[in-house]
Amino acid sequence: MNEVAPASDHRLNLLHQLFASATHDASAAMCRWTEGLITLTLDEVREIPLEDAAVALNLGDEPITMVVLSLQGEIGGEMILTFDEQNGRQLAASLLRRPVGAGADWSELEKSALTETGNILGCAYMNALTRLIDSELVPSAPYFIQDFAASVVQQALLAQAMTCDRVLICRTGFHREGKELNWRVIFVPTDGMRRAMEDAFHCVV
């Protein structure tokens, strides 16, 4: 397998522009889905040493709630939505037009609401990337996980870890009525996706 060279500032800037465009589309979809309540902003696109990934992403080592979508294939990646317990359940409640669930465990309906949110967000993101790189991307069905975030991100980083000691990560934040929420979308592209995105940008400019 070929080693991947670390990204230059110029390449990171190109990738940032591409992810910003995809985030814009995903934000519009999220805004429609939540009736104007929630929007997204691109926080960062950065390359970090593999061993620092969990710390750099501020994942902590406590269990959290996540929805994961996989893009399989060479031009692929993993999209991980992370939610803190309180705000995740509030989102589910507002989508279901019900009070916030009182039980310790998430109900199937709450899980479904959050998973559907992941689906809408992920598909909007992937549709934008598909247009940008002119290659069809088909995400897996989203699935709901409650686990250590670092464990899940670790698996997502594997494809890049095979060819590089540094990993590229795109992180998106959420806002509700202008206030930042403790939710994130972490997108970890494969090397093939990185190359496809950079090639696409060079074709456009």
């Binding site: 061993e51 464990s151 991100v153």
Partner: protein
Amino acid sequence: MNDIPTEPEHEKETSMACCTVVEMAGQQSVGMGQILVARCPGKLTAVLGSCVGVALVHPRLHVGCLAHVVLPESAGRESTPGKFADTAIPVMIRQLEELGANRSGLVAKITGGACMFGTSGPLQIGEANIEAVTRLLGQAGIRMAGKHVGGTKGRRVTLDPATGYVRVEIVGAQVITI
């Protein structure tokens, strides 16, 4: 009389030629591809998914080493030694030997190697990591004293060199000690 406060003997990190030895009370996190050594009362912790946590401990000397192995084979690639099973294990043994822990007194405990995204994906690295680590430990003549591997859930593991135990936490399950 010397008024300069001295650091308690048990609250320090010692830098050796090839590694850092954690000797402070508390836990030190071992990131992906890292190898750390700890001596009682220091503890080492890692959050594992498909990666495998390889713990080597010397029960009598109360010293232990934890590697956060990401992939099974280096295939000659230059990288941090802890990233690959075939480069991590020799380095771990050497680091412990430099602390006076003979190979014959070492035991191994391995954790992790989960398949976090189900079994349909192309990257079944967890299983490959488990197989490589098990084989390499056997080739190195190190006895496997315990393992908790596989499945589809992440693990938070903590190695305590004082006892030689590895504490394994899985979300929604009871804590296990191996």
